[in-house]
Symmetry: C2
Subunit: 153 residues, 2 copies
DNA sequence: CCGCTCGTTTACGTTTACGTCAATGCTATA
DNA sequence: TATAGCATTGACGTAAACGTAAACGAGCGG
């Protein structure tokens, strides 16, 4: 059984125009806002990447959570694994200079950049080979459709 | 001229049904020749991509198998799934014009080329974003090393 | 009172291309 | 004969990032 929380349950219909300070958001809204699924948000929490408050069992995401999610999505976009993202985020200290965090991030970024460039090279290579194969195949198809090649003048 | 496997070759019972110059190769040699593992060759066979003869239980790869493997590796290099490769190979008919096979290959290739180009675009995008982030982080590190902190926005 | 929507947890499934044992067999050489 | 070396067939493990039920609760509108 849960105790009744002070100040009305946030399970209210999302008419929070009057409440301007906290801007707590539930999982559905959060998901829509950032284009991810509910499953994803819960998954990230399970992996320790997010830590929303709770009203009873309902997750409530703060401004902070939203900032973290943005970072996660950026990290994902540039190809970091969630593990890497977590490792970097875990070093964040609101009361420190975060030099260590920044250095780690920079270090990982350099490596990731190298990986990306390598991937790009591989893809370029693949594109070349594939294009070449396609030319060959096209040529073969042409020859199939014009079988009178040997005696033609 | 018969190639015997390096080192102490096991009994190469190539007396068995010796067709003219078949150049049968066992799995170890095959793997070395093409830079894949034994597991890979067995896996491909399990997936129906290769079909070596058997001498008892020992796999013997023919010229044909080697050609097929080359194709598989090319396909893999340009990003096809093994399923796609199989689908294309399964259409091969030594007695036909193989027009269907070639058309399918061309069709799949066009789609794969599109995928590759999209991937390249994504990677380029990721590289840009990552580079930008790195600049920011570097800047933050510089500010950390300077005692005069400016007021954030 | 019913059903709808939104929320919860737990837990197995998906995908791809193999890696990594494990247990066993065949053959030839020291 | 024992050992070395190569072969065989299972069969479970791996990685990433979730998807997909299943089974349930809470609140609201009608």
């Amino acid at each position: 059984m849960k105790l009744i929380s002070p100040g009305q349950a946030a399970a209210n219909t999302n008419d929070m125009s009057s409440e301007a300070g906290e801007e707590l958001v539930r999982i559905g809204e959060m998901a829509k806002k950032y284009g991810v699924t509910l499953r994803t948000l819960r998954f990230y929490e399970d992996k320790g990447l997010l830590n929303p408050q709770r009203d009873g069992s309902t997750r409530l995401y703060t401004r902070r959570d939203r900032a973290r999610l943005k970072l996660i999505l950026l990290g994902r976009k540039v190809g970091f694994s969630l593990r890497d993202v977590k490792q970097m985020m875990d070093l964040y200290d609101p009361n420190g200079s975060n030099t260590k965090q920044l250095r780690l991030a920079l270090d990982k970024s350099e490596k990731q950049l190298a990986r990306l460039q390598k991937q790009r090279a591989l893809i370029d290579d693949a594109i070349s080979e594939l294009s070449a194969s396609m030319s060959t195949v096209r040529q073969m198809l042409i020859e199939r459709s014009a079988p009178q090649a040997s005696v033609a003048s």
